[in-house]
């Protein structure tokens, strides 16, 4: 995780309301309030909130009686954790070896150009996040792209636009969930 994306976290407005706090407490309790289970706690938090806003990190630091530094130190070490709000659809391009030799880089470049973002970023309209991952383990279908849970195998750069169009079409203005994530 680059520091530039960390900086973006402060710009984001996540409201740590009582509802969110309650969810956080539940997650920490499930791991016995034990800092030894920090990774698991962070994973559960991310499952719940889709990413780890700075406010949550500060909050759990107090709850677990450990420093924010330590939590960020652990969290940024692992590629799984996200600190900026992901888009509505997450596009993951497999960069495994099999996909690489069959043209995954070209696929990623074209996605990146089409969306106007680099890997690891989210489009301004928050519709798409682009990620590159190392091996999704379905090498027989290489090159592979996954959007949310839909797998697209034998991908080529030419197919990108058509597939994205499908998601763009059905995209409606995101509904605000009460208090969960406020824009």
């Amino acid at each position: 995780m680059s520091t530039s994306s960390l900086r973006k976290t402060s710009a984001q407005d996540f409201e740590l309301n009582s509802n969110a706090k309650q969810k956080i407490s539940k997650i920490i309790a499930a791991s016995n309030h034990d800092p030894k289970n920090l990774i698991q706690i962070l994973q559960d938090l991310q499952d719940e909130f889709n990413y780890l806003p700075e406010k949550i990190i500060s909050h759990i630091a107090k709850e677990l009686k450990i420093s924010e530094h330590h939590i960020f130190g652990v969290a940024t070490f692992y590629s799984q954790f996200k600190f900026i709000k992901p888009g509505k659809h997450i596009i993951r391009v497999c960069m495994g070896t099999a996909c690489h030799v069959l043209g995954a880089q070209s696929l990623l470049d074209n996605l990146s150009r089409d969306l106007g973002i680099d890997s690891g970023e989210t489009t301004k309209d928050e519709l798409f996040s682009l990620e590159s991952v190392y091996c999704l383990g379905c090498c027989a279908l290489a090159p592979v792209m996954v959007i949310d849970d839909d797998v697209y195998g034998s991908m080529t750069a030419a197919k990108v636009n058509r597939i994205l169009r499908k998601y763009r079409k059905v995209a409606k203005p995101k509904q605000k969930k009460s208090g969960a994530i406020k824009k």
Binding site: P35, K36, N37, L38, I39, Q40, L42, Q43, G73, V74, F77, Y78, S79, Q80, F81, M95, G96, T97, A98, H100, V101, L102, G103, S106, D109, N110, R113, D114, V133, Y134, C135, L136, G137, C138, C139, A140, L141, A142, V144, V151, G153, T156, A157, A158
Partner: protein, 625 residues
């Protein structure tokens, strides 16, 4: 003790019932690879169908030939079970009805028969060219049994190895595993029995076992397939290992990217507890042991034992100096054994069939079988298992069917980012730990990626360096900075800006990184550079001296050009070009403006007449000069 045997008897009876039941059964290959290929909508369709035709649906793991997925097997009483491959949702009803209702086995669509007396015109699945040259020991149950059904595993003689083990002393168990010659399947090939012995010998009463299921090599999925297809074999191995070393607690460290594998483990662990195969007094042997799953959070370096241990304890996955070895001071400072998924998956069969039986397979130094994921530019991609010592030729041509699209076999990349690229000239070398090390590669966890003439080895080395550079934890300077320098040099070469002197620098950096790094990641990170530079020096030289990428992969070194004679003027390239670089009138030869072309490859990939060529930039420049 009759408890265990009556449980087995019941399990076998229920398995027999399933095989012989009147109601047809449809087996669906529903591991991650099958799901990616589209088995889930097929299962939905089958469920719909089951409202009309009585049938049971059983989800099984991966049977191996990924290129044929999605795969379904139809079992019909008094007939053979037939496997069908590349099944589309819209074909499901037809295939099922044809066989079950009309009795038509659809010879042309079938892959093979799985069981029964066979059907004329359909070969046995076990004679399929991809399968017949394999020896399936670890993968025996994968794609055959329902991984969520403990009775299926018991019916296949599951937990008999554990039963045998607890009747012996732990030292006897260790001796058997040592004598069988089992070596770690995670990469380095350390003798498993010896690892256990060291840990057992530690005086501390608290000991741990960790199952390393953090399969991180890009291009490798053997462990995931095994867990998804037969989780109990891994868990049984873990309990046996725990018994041998005297551990009371085990952790499974599994990639978070493998949600289905984690689910399979969770279900299996619950069932084991219920059946007295986990928890207190396992099989009435006074041996207590329990297992907890830890989800990895995405860090390649956690494949390194000491890093993995740090991660299990909730910390950054940074490796530390050894000694003390994990067998002395591991998780929570206690003696710990870390075994790979496949290693553990192999243990039960050794305890069941004996050391001599197992040692029959393989070579003098490398006993037994090894699973590989065979991918890249190969006809038959998939998950395979062969005795160690099998030659590359047998794996790539006999099992894999050779290179896809009849292209030239150039090399294999084995062992992932820590491994190396082995050229076609070594095709008759046996696959075992020592031979691969001699060639500069490593066995690794078993990912084999086949490459052809259209893969640039410099680009491939750059790809791996980009990976290891990003995954380096940053603790050791040679790894943190050296790999970055290697990457910069490779980028320079692939841009055509390199010089012959850079080769020396590459070699020097490679040496420094491998000698000066603490853990396996750094020590092996330069392997892809060293092997490609050794075996494919000409290709490197072409990049720096002629500014040419022979495979036409390095984008700075070639341009796209339309061959006017072949071009049919169909306008596809013009319409699809994202920058308007391709122009031309209908039915007239098109042209590509190299100034505005971004080399997205779309025109090249889509030209129906194959009229678009990749031309060395130098060639064009020399013509215009």
């Amino acid at each position: 003790m009759s408890n265990f045997y009556s449980m087995v008897k019941q399990a076998k009876a229920s398995w027999e019932d399933l095989q012989n039941q009147k109601k047809p059964v449809i087996y669906t290959g529903a591991a991650s690879c099958g799901r990616a290929a589209g088995i889930l909508p097929i299962i939905d369709e089958l469920k719909e169908l089951s409202k009309e035709i009585p049938l049971d649906i059983v989800e099984v793991g991966c049977i191996g030939p990924c290129y044929l997925e999605p795969i379904i097997g139809i079992q019909k009483k008094d007939s053979s079970t037939i496997l069908y491959g590349n099944v589309q949702v819209r074909q499901v009803r037809e295939i099922v009805e044809n066989y079950l209702k009309k009795g038509d086995p659809q010879v042309d669509k079938a892959i093979g028969t799985l069981s029964g007396n066979g059907i004329e015109g359909i070969p046995s699945f076990w004679d399929h060219p991809m399968i017949k040259n394999q020896v399936r020991i670890v993968l025996k149950n994968c794609g055959i049994i329902d991984p969520t059904n403990i009775d299926h595993y018991l019916a296949m003689d599951g937990y008999l190895g554990l039963k045998n083990a607890v009747a012996m002393s732990p030292d006897e168990v260790i001796k058997i595993v040592s004598d069988a010659g089992l070596r770690g399947r995670g990469g380095a090939g350390f003798p498993t029995g010896l690892k256990w012995k060291f840990t057992r010998a530690e005086k501390d009463q608290d000991k741990y076992i960790i199952c390393n299921a953090d399969e991180g090599d890009p291009g490798a999925f053997m462990n995931r397939s095994l867990i998804e297809g037969d989780p109990h074999s891994v868990l049984e191995g873990m309990v046996i290992s725990a018994y041998a070393i005297g551990a009371q607690k085990g952790y499974i460290y599994c990639r978070a990217e493998y949600p289905l594998a984690i689910k399979r483990f969770e279900k299996a662990i619950t069932d084991m507890r219920e059946r007295g195969l986990l928890g207190e007094n396992i099989l009435n042997s006074n041996f207590d042991f329990d297992i907890e799953i830890k989800r990895g959070a995405g860090a390649f370096v956690c494949g390194e034992e000491t890093a993995l241990i740090a991660s299990v304890m909730g910390d950054r996955g940074m490796p530390r100096q050894k000694p003390p070895y994990p067998s002395q001071e591991g998780v929570w400072g206690k003696p710990t054994v870390i075994n790979n998924v496949e290693t553990l998956g192999t243990v039960p069969v050794i305890l069941r069939k004996g050391k001599a039986w197992y040692a029959k397979y393989g070579t003098e130094q490398s006993k037994g079988t090894k699973t590989f994921s065979l991918v890249g530019k190969i006809k038959r991609t998939g998950l395979i298992e062969v005795p160690l010592g099998t030659t590359l030729r047998e794996v790539i041509f006999d099992i894999g069917g050779g290179v896809a699209e009849e292209k030239n076999f150039k090399a294999i990349q084995v062992g992932g980012p820590s491994g190396g690229t082995i050229p076609a000239a070594f095709i008759d070398e046996p696959l075992d730990y020592e031979e691969l090390t001699k060639l500069g590669a490593i066995m690794g966890s078993g990912g084999i990626v086949v490459i052809d003439d259209e893969t640039c080895v410099v680009d491939l080395a750059k790809y791996f360096l980009k990976f290891t550079e990003a995954e380096s934890c940053g603790k050791c300077v040679p790894c943190r900075i050296g790999n970055k320098q290697l990457l910069i040099l490779l980028e320079k070469i692939t841009k055509g800006e390199g010089t012959i002197e850079d080769f020396e620098l590459l070699e020097e950096f490679a040496h420094t990184v491998s000698q000066g790094s603490l853990c396996g990641l750094g020590k092996t990170a330069p392997n892809p550079v060293i092997t490609t530079l050794t075996y494919f020096r000409d290709e490197y030289i072409a990049h720096v001296e002629e500014n040419r990428c022979p495979a036409k992969v390095c984008k700075d070194l070639f341009i796209y050009q339309v061959d006017e004679e072949t071009c049919i003027g169909c306008e596809i390239c013009r319409k699809r070009c994202p920058t308007g670089a391709a122009t031309g009138e209908k039915k007239q030869p098109h042209t590509i403006n190299i100034e505005t072309c971004i080399k997205c490859d779309i025109c090249y990939a889509n030209c129906p007449a194959k009229a678009i060529r990749k031309i060395d930039k130098v060639e064009v420049q020399s013509v215009s000069n």
